[in-house]
Symmetry: D2
Subunit: 364 residues, 4 copies
């Protein structure tokens, strides 16, 4: 109820503060017999890890995942999988200067308003460090869904005003390689350099910048998602909006769809040569009435610029007195390159949960 769990059948519960002993996650509801590939889990965490390139924070965290339970001989047993990620480079002293100050657009003030107490070191629980636990759990979800052929792909589709063109995800191996070929993780390699340059320039100015991530879910069978409140896109939306710094979510035609005519927006059904039901266009983004229709699911997630900038900012302290917050610590100039893997992880968690929900009601 306190908001640290996600999912109903494939459920995760995360814990941990940025500068405590460790962060971690319990995955409860992972079916038995899933091959738990530890290297894959670590490779996912490495994509989110700080310090991985010159355009990310220089905090040093190896983010080594330790699995404590739920696995026997490399397979899930159906019991809770607990994953621990110890914090290493804590440098809590970096934060003593903001112990009693409210950093602009951070959660310092709201945590104080809510709890009357907060772990100020590195933002405590409000730190994006919490998302490492999501990535580890998301990796387990991906391993589970691999057996069903369901795949996830996300990439940076914009940095500030620089917007990548539409990409084709037809060959997922190619788009993955394209994305990983550049440190900004944009699969449209033609604009990656420009994005990197903008991030670097912004960083040198002591500033930060926002961006967008586009996500895709491939080979999702029709029939996944629930009517009314737990529509598939509603749960995807909540999943994405729960990631730090996210300001908006849209799927299929999205906000642009609100300007369209029905006659242009409707996706006409047809039966393809393989006898599969498809739609000629995909303004629906693969979801109709909250339930997948077998087309590719696609969505976009908007991230605001990171709130920590390397400049002095006016603010107040917890006595409501004016004060100045100066830029310190090690932070990302732009969050989207590392967030790509978080978006994929959250999408995988939503799909794993809804797939189990569908399996429950499907007649054998």
């Amino acid at each position: 109820m306190a908001g640290n769990s996600f999912g109903k059948l494939f459920k995760i519960s995360t814990f941990g503060e940025s500068h405590g002993k460790a962060i971690g996650v319990i995955i409860d509801g992972c079916p038995p017999h899933v091959n738990i590939d530890l290297d894959f889990i670590q490779s996912e965490l490495d994509k989110r890890r700080p310090g991985q390139s010159k355009i990310t924070t220089q905090r040093k965290e190896s983010d080594q995942a330790q699995i404590l339970s739920g696995i026997l001989d490399g397979k899930s047993t159906g019991t809770p999988i607990a994953i621990l990620i110890p914090n290493q480079d804590q440098r809590s002293k970096d934060y003593s200067h903001i112990q009693n100050k409210y950093r602009p657009s951070h959660a310092d003030f709201t945590y104080d308003a809510k709890y009357g107490i907060r772990d100020y070191r590195g933002g405590g629980r409000s730190s994006a460090r919490e998302t490492a636990a999501r990535v580890a759990a998301g990796a387990i979800a991906k391993l589970f869904l691999k057996d069903y052929g369901i795949e996830f792909f996300a990439h940076v589709s914009s940095v500030g005003p620089i917007d990548a063109g539409k990409i084709s995800t037809g060959d997922i191996q190619t788009v993955l390689e394209n994305r990983e070929s550049n440190i900004v993780r944009c699969a449209d390699t033609s604009c990656a350099d420009e994005m990197i340059e903008l991030i670097n320039k912004t960083r040198k100015n002591g500033d930060t910048i926002g961006g967008k991530i586009t996500g895709y879910i491939k080979n999702l069978p029709a029939g996944i998602g629930e009517p009314a409140f737990d529509k598939l896109h509603a749960d995807l939306g909540k999943a994405m909006l729960s990631i730090n710094a996210v300001k908006g979510f849209e799927y299929g035609s999205g906000f642009a769809g609100s300007t369209m005519l029905g006659s242009d927006h409707n996706d006409l059904f047809f039966t393809n040569k393989e006898g599969q039901i498809k739609t000629k266009t995909n303004h629906s983004g693969g979801i109709q009435g909250g339930i997948s229709n077998g087309m590719e699911v696609n969505f976009r997630v908007a991230f605001k610029p990171v709130a920590t900038i390397m400049r002095d900012q006016e603010s107040i302290n917890n006595l409501k007195e004016p004060d100045v917050v100066s830029g310190k610590g090690r932070h990302d100039p732009c969050v989207v390159p590392r967030a790509v893997i978080i978006v994929e992880a959250m999408a995988a968690l939503v799909i794993a949960d809804h797939l189990l929900r569908q399996k429950a009601i499907t007649r054998d």
Copy 2:
């Protein structure tokens, strides 16, 4: 789990199909001693009711709410409040022509894919008629929150390409009156006529058009919302995305925020003359780290054009054969004028739930 409940402490469960005997809702968790103003509930339902103006569907439904339980002498007793809304104008025969066809961009195909059976009459459970139950429940939530001074306001901020300017919600009575002064429910009265004209033109063409609704939450105290997954904006987002036809959600700076610099985006804190903590700008949309900061919450919701158009459309039937769906039935040319009250209702349900969650952990 089947997706027909919403909220955790202030929880609603809805039921009913478009052309069944009735739709309805159980509200479980409404605190005792709330004054249940039946006229208010009915007036809210009337704003969503079909047939209320020339730009809405002409289906006749009086949407008379019957309260079956949970009320004594006009006050809530703390036990479940069940509300029943009988269906009147069912005309199920209107739908026999689509019994075995998949209407484009409707949920016909996905319900079949999911369940292998569907109530085809008027879309069955997938019909937006289900939202009447939400409005009734949302009215109860509003009555509960009234004692805390928390208020909700939403209006149509765009129809197709026609976008209203920013409005000031300083005086809620005035914006409400402005909104109700026109049938499109836009508080910017200067563009309401243009919107109505566009909807009328679209309707005459047998077509439909999308639009956007902007929502506001006023007088929300700081400290409401949970960290990690149940961030206040994540739950608002899920709530809005669960409304039929919604394609996107953003709050505060939203998608535009993804193009901004941190130095421009950060909301600087100050203490106002009344000793309250405020921010100079409100790109945060009243929510920081998932928790309210005492500023006005604002968000935008994108609706696609209604899928039922009065034209012949190519499609397939449930034998995967080509077929033609012809436009019949009574439908809205544009959904946003009636959806305004649904957006408010869902926002009220989210806030009622989160307020109770905060009360639970607050030391007496």
Copy 3:
């Protein structure tokens, strides 16, 4: 959260007060394609119905169930099934004499302590009338489980000090007939008359008496139930303890098992001629480690005597002043004959829920 829902995947939410307009239930999560036999549902309700025999309350309620949603052509569609049971014989005036008094061992005082307001008419929400909704929902669960061959049987195994002998449930048709052959619903017909006589004598004395119900679940496959907190018997126990007037629950060897030696208590496994794994004894009551083992599940439920007696009793009013509560109204002298079907219904709801949970994690 307010405690009016039960189950996670096969979930029910009930509403209604004893003397309000109606009581009812939403069943959310019933899989599609279940044959919904209305006559069966009604016949189940008839077994719980007041006024059915001379040893039950004479309140007149036909308990006619109206299904409002979720059914098409006699089959469940996978969407919420709402069932309404209107209250007919309300005689609310019968209760004005206790409006401000706290009846001994009733929930009058505790509801006031909890909510500060209560519907005093017939106990309001605390009335056992609420269990009619459970019986209707349980009937749906039974219909769902019928396709899996899972059957439920309960009977009155004791009234006051009169304890029936052990019965064999080998032929369920026979025990059902035996049970229904007498109005006390004891399948051991040799002691039914004695039980009925005791109840009649007790009623004539203006008194009430307790009793026990023994429940059986037959043909439950092995593997149903979850480890740790949601053990099958833990959920069965909660289900039974949530029925009005229940004071205790035990399964298998139960309380007697606490006096036994391990060498006597252990159930030895063997493989029978059909190649099925069985145990030689069944002290486990069909459940080991919280998970069914394929043997018959059995359990016992203790009911206290009904609190309403036809005598004057000392008490206090809501001003804490001494007062006298005199016996009025129409009440059961012994609750177990009507509760048999409630016990079966709750057992069916638990099994339906856990079966779906198991289906969710079972590899196709």
Copy 4:
């Protein structure tokens, strides 16, 4: 959903196998500002710890709790509290002899039936070792409830056929001292020696024996508990039944109440000299209609004899062939002395959860 979480507002999620790296728990929903007394938590764990006396298993586990998150300067912060208890004395080889065998009345077979895979070492997840996590979480719940004056007490009220007399819990310090004065943890010191002697005799015979624990909740205010399904005693019952080896639960008059007359069973209200509402008797066990009435809550829990005995037993293997299970490993001859603290912990978790639920709906 997979059954490893308990509670709704004060929610715990446990993980870990008997012979894995560690077991542990996340407590999500503990309010902020609770003084987290580490010594108290450890002292609670020490009461459950194996090897503490000659009548418990000789497995060596120091059960040192490590708190990983959620605490700042000795106080809870409102964020998840993760507690880790590493496994030390694993001796997994002790279990290779039962890798493919189904031990009688253990969960070996049912886990295989459920998951098709199981961690056979020490029972894996089905081991009572999991309850250490509950005790740690229960200690946090007790610390939270201490500020409300609510106290918990449980003791061994029977071992095999030896039943202690009723005890007075008027002075909790005295009964606690009495209980801790003997290794069987019976507060009735007059029969403790006899119990210990019986356990020793049983152990020497290579056998095990069952017993009962009686629990008490003191100073619980009236109004705690929810109507319908989440009755306070229903949640207490589920909590107790979820503890390994529990076969039955009763509260107040319990099973004996089923033999009583209403005129004897009813608890008459009166107002005491302090102006408090009390009942003359307490057959209700402090709970009426599922809600606390301000009297002492009391309940009894029946434990079967431990299934592991030091004798050869006939059984089968996972190929359904006859096999012999010989008694090995280190096990308790009687589980109740160590289970006393588990019963208290589960009771505290139930009350913490329900107290928060009541706070949520209480008008400020």
